[in-house]
């Protein structure tokens, strides 16, 4: 199938002759691709009613996911017209009366690949395509799933502090407790907000005071921010009795 592109417009307030090019659809070749312009979506967010914007954004994001999924899986036989063909886009352009409109598909005299797609996005929309970075999940979730692993089956999980010390009035959750070996393991990321880290360190003070006969270990990921590194150094000085272990080291040792 020959390569083509079609500009995706948002038709704003009907009192204005305004069409905002919010995206670029490229089909054929190794495609299809749908690129959504972040800057123009930010502009829409500022000018539209919140509910209208959320609805439009939901629509566009869902469409993009569908196109990306189609490009990766391509479920149909190549004998038939592909789902996102020039003819389909032409029909859509003629019949769509809603707020999202498509321009007439324009032929590209080249094989469409990812590089050509990026070039078109830069040329037509004036934007550089940002590489997709995989988002790291927060440490709290990683730590939670790590604690529920089988290797900690001999440990008690999520005990309250007054289970170990009935006189304690504080309601603090203890992540991993081994009552036989008198071991207590807590997890904390020093890259959280300063207030949160200080609150957790205050809790650590209470724990070390109330449960003085338990060995205390604090498992933490390597801090990325300058403030995180500073807070870790300060915590090590404040709590000499606590064992500060890197999460990666702890994982290796516990294998």
């Amino acid at each position: 199938m020959e390569s083509f592109y079609s500009v995706m417009y948002y038709k704003s307030n009907p009192m204005l002759d305004e069409q905002l090019a919010i995206g670029l659809f490229l089909g054929g070749g190794e495609g299809p691709w749908l690129h959504i312009s972040d800057k123009r979506m930010k502009l829409l967010e500022d000018v539209l009613h919140r509910n209208t914007f959320l609805s439009i954004r939901r629509n566009i994001r869902a469409f993009k996911e569908k196109v990306d999924h189609y490009r990766v899986t391509k479920p149909e036989l190549l004998l038939f017209d592909p789902h996102y063909s020039k003819e389909q886009l032409n029909e859509l352009k003629a019949h769509s009366k809603g707020v999202i409109a498509y321009s007439e598909p324009t032929v590209i005299n080249d094989w469409l690949n990812e590089q050509l797609k990026d070039d078109f996005v830069t040329t037509i929309l004036g934007e550089k395509v940002k590489p997709i970075t995989k988002k790291q999940p927060p440490f709290s979730l990683t730590w939670k799933s790590f604690c529920s692993a089988k290797r900690f089956s001999s440990f008690e999980r999520n005990w309250n502090l007054n289970t170990l010390n009935e006189a304690s009035l504080a309601s603090i959750q203890l992540h991993l407790v081994d009552p036989t070996k008198k071991e207590l393991i807590q997890g904390l990321s020093f890259d959280l907000k300063k207030e949160t880290v200080l609150l957790r360190l205050r809790e650590l003070t209470i724990i070390s005071n109330d449960v003085y006969d338990y060995s205390l270990k604090l498992i933490h990921p390597k801090p990325k921010s300058k403030l995180g590194k500073q807070l870790l150094e300060e915590a090590k000085e404040l709590f000499p009795q606590v064992d500060f272990i890197l999460f990666s080291t702890f994982k290796e040792n516990k294998k």
Binding site: M15, L48, N51, H95
Partner: protein, 237 residues
């Protein structure tokens, strides 16, 4: 039909349709020059939507340069309900963004049981906290008298896998919609429609001759069976 009082009227540099802004800041599109057929069909459709509890865009009339226009409310962010928008209901989580999704099926039932508007009516998804179904009261056959022309499921795109998936998600609501529609589609409602036509003596006989075909027992039985057959063929989740 409501006579609109404009606050202002837009002037398009691209010769696009004119938009009128009322005193309550509601925009209306000057859609088509008004004639008696449009007035009668608008009245019939308004009565049907009120009776079967379907939301529709507001309409009105306005005289511009000694020409009377049929105006339809313009709502921002409206998208057509069609198989192309399948990505809005790819899974149940996305489908749950719709408020009263069975209203789309009620619109299909109106077109199946009252196939007099000369083509398919536009169904729209209007934005909000949740997506809502609204009927756009414009049809291809508005400029001339109604004609009884039964529509097929394919013409309404009901057989498209995307729409089947949509209605499968709300299968129980679709069942209730069919039962409710059949209960409400009674002789008294036909009399109400006939009474509405009596306000237009020039065309009432022509319109009633076509409209009463919708109440023909053979047509009603056939259409009811087609609808129930479609419902049963929707499958299970």
């Amino acid at each position: 039909m409501e006579e609109l009082r404009p606050l202002t009227i837009s002037r398009s540099i691209k010769d696009a349709p004119t938009v009128l802004l009322t005193e309550s800041k509601a925009p209306f599109l000057l859609y088509i020059p008004l004639n008696e057929h449009i007035i009668i069909q608008d009245a019939l459709l308004r009565l049907m939507c009120e009776h079967f509890k379907i939301k529709r865009f507001r309409t009105g009339s306005f005289t511009l340069k000694s020409k009377k226009y049929y105006c339809v409310e313009e709502i921002q962010g409206v998208v057509d309900f069609s198989p192309w928008e399948e990505h809005l209901w790819l899974n149940k989580r996305r489908f749950n963004q719709f408020l009263q999704p069975s209203d789309f099926f009620k619109m299909m039932l109106i077109e199946l049981f009252f196939p007099i508007f000369g083509g398919t009516l536009r169904k729209s998804i209007t934005p909000g906290v949740k997506n809502q179904a609204m009927l756009v009261p414009t049809s291809p056959g508005q400029s001339h008298a109604i004609r009884f022309e039964p529509v097929t499921l394919s013409k309404l795109q009901l057989n498209h896998p995307a729409l089947k998936r949509f209605f499968l998600f709300c299968k129980e609501d679709v069942r209730e919609a069919i039962v409710g529609f059949n209960l409400l589609n009674h002789d008294k409602f036909m009399m109400d429609l006939k009474y509405q036509l009596s306000f237009y003596p020039n065309w009432r006989n022509v319109y009633w001759d076509e409209l009463k075909k919708c109440n023909d027992s053979g047509f009603l039985t056939y259409t009811t069976n087609v609808v129930w057959d479609y419902f049963h063929r929707l499958g299970t989740k």
